[in-house]
């Protein structure tokens, strides 16, 4: 057990836990934050994406020791129904999913992209989402939603 300190969704968090434990495990099992989903456990599908220091990473193979003093954002910290992020509004407006299991990871990849590149082209959006898999075939709706969110953020 090791005391690990990092910011989680804006709040300073201290966790006494196994430093080799995965961030996904900590979020889902210990902290009850279930937006990030388990899909493969090998960093191959992106269903567990969260943002660490501005970059979308796979929480399933991110060990807790690597998070010391880092800033972690999960979908729960991106926005809520009362204060939605532009991406969440856009995904609802575009009805941009089918089953939605992958969508929490995709929203985090998209949020990291827009932070870095507020006006991406369609090709840049597709490239940024390429580490996320979607099995239902909602890809184009999600791309449209990301572009819509970018537009909205730029014009407000």
């Amino acid at each position: 057990m090791t005391l690990i300190r990092f910011r989680l969704n804006g709040a300073l968090t201290e966790i006494d836990d196994d430093p080799d434990r995965s961030l996904l495990d900590l979020l889902r099992e210990r902290l009850g934050l279930t937006a990030a989903h388990f899909g493969c456990g090998a960093g191959e599908c992106g269903a567990c994406h969260v943002i660490v220091d501005g970059r979308a990473v796979t929480a399933c193979n991110t060990p807790l020791w690597s998070l010391v003093d880092k800033d972690v954002i999960t979908l729960e910290g991106l926005g809520t129904a009362d204060r939605p992020h532009a991406l969440q509004r856009a995904f609802i407006a575009e009805q941009a999913l089918q089953c939605g299991y992958c969508v929490s990871g995709i929203l985090m990849s998209a949020a990291a992209l827009l932070k870095q590149n507020p006006r991406p082209t369609e090709a840049q959006v597709r490239l940024a989402l390429d580490r996320n898999l979607c099995r239902c075939g909602a890809h184009n709706r999600m791309v449209r939603a990301v572009l819509r969110a970018a537009e909205e953020m730029a014009t407000r």
Binding site: F91, Q98, R126, L133, R135, G137, H139
Partner: protein
């Protein structure tokens, strides 16, 4: 199940009690309880639309109750693009009757003729500002009565919600990350289970050293029953650790042999089969056979590869068990659980909670039995079981591989005189709850195992299985359609989206394209000339027009068309593919037209068609279950790649709305047409006929070798 009353929609006749579908509850809510389940297709929203429309309530008042064997109508399985058709019609009729009953009660209470009353958002009002509501009247109108077929649903013109793109009711939870999936469900005192499965297919567990697993902190139980073994732990991480330890202590027999993946057609055609003539047609005519051509088409085994590994929770209370599952059929699963457990079905409650997108009979039901077996050792605490990615990719049933041979007798002008279509494939259905033997994986593994189920094919009346979409809609004078179902099943297969439809449409539409081009006739014109059904012609014309068929040839680009009416009785769909190709194929754009009759939620239809088109593109360009002589080797997303964002084609969909025609589903309409359209576009681009899926660099080279 009651006997069928012909006045009622089938699923209402089978579940006539009105209160099993609808209840009016406190706070001005309407609880709607379909037997069909949300599997990522948006069905619960469409059903809510139908109910809200018929009852004249705001859709925001409708709460969708999750299907459960404790209370829901038994609507069988959520599959076959039948939910709108079956559940939608039942709900429409049930709600029409309920509305009528309440209208009569309102008229009695308010002392005015029913004609003088209007209903607005659940409130009945009449002259002089008199009013009452469903909720005020609910006590006077018991719904513990059977539907009679006595009320007429609203005329099309009076529907306000059906036919509009209402936003899906499940989407906000999903974009705000609120727990909605079974994977996110936590019950008080819940434990975590994992099941040990062999790498080699059907290997037997010879011995098991449990000591390593028993040393894991948080272990509650090691469970072993024959070749079924698993662990139950306090936490998920402990369960993973215990499983790993258990794996080290396991000694397995070698696996049962698997076919040569390099010669699937040879394998399929060499097996013992049950042969069935699916259809035969002979029309006397004056065309004379001049020559015969024969082509063979192949489709590999395809994985469901759902984004989430299957998951289930089970809780025993003495002799009764409660199961939470993302199964497509709660009652059917219950039937099989009762067979395995040898307890009365009434002692089992099966309740649905959403899982990830489901495209057919995946491992959801298997995971449910796993949880039930592990939970027996959990001392009355709930046990949540989640499969690994590798188990999901290897132990869940696959869509069956198919070899399809089509032979056509042509006259001197290359007009079709006779058409012969033969299919070799495993059956496409081994779903739970359908036979005297259970179809659940652990049932084949326990000490006293049940025999492994060999997949069968549903009859043509239900759309067929391996033979689905093999009977031409085209007006060929004669044909013979034959299906050879394998009686061996080394690779576990069951229902995957479209069953045999994708393979058969690929074969038929590829062959037609070849004949049209041989004749020097435009493939669209050729199809239109052979179709007598105007709705079929309309979707083909609409897709062709929208795609500006046929754009001038450009080097490195190709266009192709494909058409089918799903199951020959469902949705009409035509697709035009635009591809770019050299040594690898990129699908640039898919243009589709679809006719589902009355589209309850047009955007929902478009979403299903877009998704089907992209999934089919993935199947065509990438997917093939891999195996060696004894194990499935495509165990991860690396070994079983699917289409990514940068590879997804643009998809443009036109919905041809027929509000006056009974609605059918859209979920499986696109796969066959898109598959054929891509293959035909590949020929247009490269002058190479690829007849073996997937269309990869390797299959292109192999096809070039054949044509050379």
């Amino acid at each position: 199940m009651k006997s069928i009353d012909s006045k009622l929609p089938v699923n209402l006749a089978a579940n006539p009690r009105l209160s099993s579908w609808v209840t009016f509850s406190a706070g001005g809510k309407v609880d709607l309880s379909p037997g069909k389940v949300e599997i990522g297709q948006g069905i619960v929203t469409a059903l809510a639309q139908i109910a809200a429309d018929e009852l004249d309530v705001d859709i925001g008042r409708v709460r969708m109750v999750r299907a459960s064997t404790a209370s829901s109508p038994n609507e069988g399985v959520t599959s076959g693009s039948l939910s709108i058709q079956q559940s939608g019609r039942a709900i429409r009729q049930a709600c029409a009757e309920i509305r009528q009953l309440f209208l009569t009660a309102a008229s009695d209470r308010l002392g005015v003729e029913a004609d003088a009353l209007t209903i607005d958002d659940g409130t009945f009002s009449g002259p002089g500002n008199i009013r009452t509501s469903y909720w005020e009247l609910a006590e006077d109108v018991p719904l513990d009565r059977d539907a009679t077929g006595g009320a007429q649903p609203k005329a099309v013109a009076r529907r306000t919600l059906a036919g509009t793109s209402v936003q899906r009711i499940d989407i906000p939870d999903k974009v705000f990350g609120r727990p909605r999936f079974i994977h996110d469900t936590v019950l008080p005192g819940m434990l975590h289970g994992r099941v040990l499965r062999p790498e080699a297919t059907r290997a037997k567990l010879l011995s098991l050293d449990e000591s390593g697993a028993r040393g894991v902190l948080g272990l509650v139980a090691v469970v072993r029953d024959g070749s079924f073994a698993g662990v139950v732990c306090e936490t998920e991480s402990a369960a993973e650790a215990a499983l790993q330890a258990l794996r080290k202590g396991a000694d397995w027999s070698s696996g049962e042999g698997l076919p040569d993946e390099g010669n699937l057609a040879g394998f399929l055609k060499a097996q013992p089969v049950e042969s069935t003539i699916i259809d035969r047609r002979t029309t006397p005519g004056d065309r004379v056979k001049a020559h015969t051509i024969r082509r063979q088409y192949m489709r590999p085994y395809i994985a469901h590869a759902s984004m989430a590994p299957s998951c289930a929770i089970a809780l025993w209370n003495d002799t009764r068990v409660h199961v939470w599952t993302h199964s497509q059929g709660v009652y059917l699963l219950r039937t099989d659980l009762a067979l395995v457990l040898k307890i009365p079905a009434e002692h089992i409650t099966v309740e649905h909670i959403e899982g990830a997108g489901c495209y057919g009979h995946n491992a959801a039901d298997d995971a449910a039995l796993d949880a039930v077996l592990l939970a027996k050792s959990a001392g009355g605490r709930p046990v949540r079981v989640q499969w690994s990615r590798a188990d999901e990719m290897t132990h869940a049933p696959f869509g069956a591989a198919m070899a399809i041979e089509i032979e056509a007798d042509l006259d001197a002008q290359n007009e079709i005189v006779e058409w012969r279509h033969s299919i070799w494939s495993n059956g496409h259905a081994a779903r739970p709850g359908r036979s005297a033997q259970p179809a659940l994986l652990a049932g084949f593994e326990i000490e006293h195992p049940f025999p492994r189920v060999i997949s069968v094919n549903p009859p043509q009346a239900n759309g067929g299985g391996g033979d689905r979409n093999s009977i031409p809609l085209y007006d060929f004078p004669s044909w013979k359609i034959e299906s050879h179902r394998l009686l061996t099943m080394p690779v576990r297969t069951s229902a995957l989206r479209t069953l045999g439809g994708q393979g058969n449409v690929f074969a038929m539409e590829s062959f037609l394209d070849e004949i049209a081009i041989e004749r020097g006739e435009d493939p669209v014109a050729f199809r239109l000339r052979h179709l007598r059904d105007e709705r079929a012609n309309d979707v083909i014309r609409a897709a062709a027009k929208r795609a500006k068929w046929k754009p001038a040839a450009r080097a490195g680009t190709g266009f192709g068309i494909g058409f089918a009416r799903y199951k020959n009785t469902g949705a009409y769909c035509a697709a035009v593919a635009e591809i770019e190709g050299a040594d690898e194929i990129r699908v640039k754009r898919l243009t589709l037209a679809v006719d589902v009759g009355e589209a309850i939620n047009p955007d929902g239809v478009i979403n299903q068609i877009e998704g089907g088109a992209i999934q089919a593109t993935s199947w065509v360009l990438k997917e093939r279950v891999r195996f060696d002589s004894e194990r499935i080797t495509s165990t991860s997303w690396t070994d079983y790649p699917i289409l990514r964002f940068s590879e997804a084609p643009h998809v443009d969909v036109e919905v041809i709305q027929h509000a006056d025609i009974e609605p059918v589903g859209a979920g499986e309409a696109a796969h066959g047409p898109v598959t054929a359209a891509i293959a035909n576009a590949v020929f247009d681009c490269l002058a190479v006929r690829v007849r073996s899926l997937p269309i990869t660099r390797d299959s292109l080279i192999a096809a070039m070798d054949v044509s050379a």
